[in-house]
Symmetry: C2
Subunit: 385 residues, 2 copies
Amino acid sequence: MENFIYHNPTQLIFGRGQLAQLEEKARQLGPTVLLVYGGGSIGRTGLYDKVISLLQSAGCRVHELAGVEPNPRLSTVNKGIELCRKEGVHWILAVGGGSVIDAAKAVAIGVPYEGDVWDFYTRKAIAQEALPLGTVLTLAATGSEMNRGSVVTNWETQEKHGAGTTFPTFSILDPEHTFSVPRDQTIYGISDILSHVFEQYFTHTTEIPLQTRFAESIMKSVIENAERVLTDPEDYDARANILYCGTMALNGTLPVGVTTDWATHSIEHAVSAVYDIPHGGGLAIIFPKWMRYVYHENVARFVRFATEVWNVDPSGKTDNEIALEGIAATEAFFAQIGAPTRLADYAITDEHLQLMAEKATPFGPIGQFKTLTSDDVAQILRLSL
Amino acid sequence: MENFIYHNPTQLIFGRGQLAQLEEKARQLGPTVLLVYGGGSIGRTGLYDKVISLLQSAGCRVHELAGVEPNPRLSTVNKGIELCRKEGVHWILAVGGGSVIDAAKAVAIGVPYEGDVWDFYTRKAIAQEALPLGTVLTLAATGSEMNRGSVVTNWETQEKHGAGTTFPTFSILDPEHTFSVPRDQTIYGISDILSHVFEQYFTHTTEIPLQTRFAESIMKSVIENAERVLTDPEDYDARANILYCGTMALNGTLPVGVTTDWATHSIEHAVSAVYDIPHGGGLAIIFPKWMRYVYHENVARFVRFATEVWNVDPSGKTDNEIALEGIAATEAFFAQIGAPTRLADYAITDEHLQLMAEKATPFGPIGQFKTLTSDDVAQILRLSL
């Protein structure tokens, strides 16, 4: 185990009817709020009306940043920052999934910063201050509801980068808010959650029995609940389990004392910066190919993955065979739940392959499990076509 | 899964050499500090000198509350409160194990409270304010380094009660600080950690796959590292794993959305309020007897415990047989690491058995897995003689 510092001050408010807590939170955080949300889904489900009503009961003046994109754009973030400055906003409420929360985080750190908020995403500045931020999560996937991370796309330069921004003060997670998530978004969320765990599970760090088992616990719990939520989108317990797994997958619990990877996320960010495909869809395609490309760096870890997570029977097989069977099981799972399996599913050809490989490695080679150059990335993308 | 709110603001600073961070923390928290510690062990190991030196480098005036007892006493807590008020102490630093931290928490909430600090432990008051508290943990056991709990003994009334007090602002955990922990204290720590997990694992709440697996992850990781730390007390990785498990066992991660039990802790508190025995020793004795007394309330849970944690082979056995084999494996483990197995090991007879049963249930029946009256407690204590 390596040295680590863990600190996560977000208050997680989880369960049926917990939205009611919003009123008291709003009273504490101040009378002028920026409500950040995406497309029309929170209008259709009635969540928008409920949120507005609670904010009004708390005496809040509500300004809105609506229409945040699935890969949230810098231009949208800048609109939010301007609005906050003009209206003297005290705090921000994000209602939606990861993109909405990520955009809201960018606004929260952008308001008190004199320079260009994109500086935080290009590693030119580190966030020191932020407006308080609350979230009402409507999608199991991101983990953004309980971490400092934010990913924003600069469409002008076709760059998609992550930054450490600010923890939400509180996040309200009601599994019922995820009942109406469409099938494809549910699938992408499952892929996203598993991918977050993969990034933190495939490591060369030794002597991390608890971190390893926690990661396996999340993977097993997601896998066994995936079919349930796809069969019955209103299965409260299955939705609750996936939702809680999504938070625990990326709230800082898994990486303590562990060297993590995150190369596949960089590759996917490059793909969706060029093609604007769903993040979870891209991950489901690319991750198994990354696994095939890198598994020989630590076959024992992939053997454990195969036997613990996928129940691969090891008897009479070589370690390589067991490892590859685990990777095949991962691919089979993604195919079974209906995730895309090839870039061709999004009509992506090798046309911009080199460009994407370059975009995935803007600051040099990526990854820890195996360090990947842009040539390596190009090979993984070619395997994914 | 049930509704829950999770919030844990403690910063966990973990690993070799992390004590160096204390200086910066001290600068932030103020120039007058109360240093709380126990017997002479931190003097013998040199930790005391290092802490004093770092506090002095930060410009702190140091007042001391030394000699905190293994079951910390209300009288000691009151001394600390007086000292803080007299000297205008800004913050408290606890250096030691659970007892030292628990006493320091009591002082922290006692200073700004006008009434008797014992009110918090007898449920007459709820802590609203506290002095900031930092900890340097020297013993893997308590979990107190990353939660709000505190247990204090009122020796005048022979009562030992727990209360929700205040989270440490930061806790520094260097596995090397636990190298010198004597064999018996190491064993009690292991017993304490496993017992904390048991209290949160044996539940009737369903649809908690992640919480269940997290609990099993901690139990398995403690069990596989126990023999290692007892064989080689300076095995860094084994000490680190046990230390991290101890924190995760009781930092609020396991009970989210789960109805937990805690009856066995109440029983042990009653025993050590009368006989002043080590908490971990008492738990190792009583827990397996509690298991035998209650397992039929939810045999399936004990079957899972047996097969997942103790690798009991279920083939050809009834559920009852599997469950009992798991309980027997628990007893065998405690015996194997050298923990006490009967109250007779502490020369405790049935003399005060009824008194202890009454003290364990001062506010009425205890426990959730099976609700226990004082008669039930008496029977469990009789099984433990």
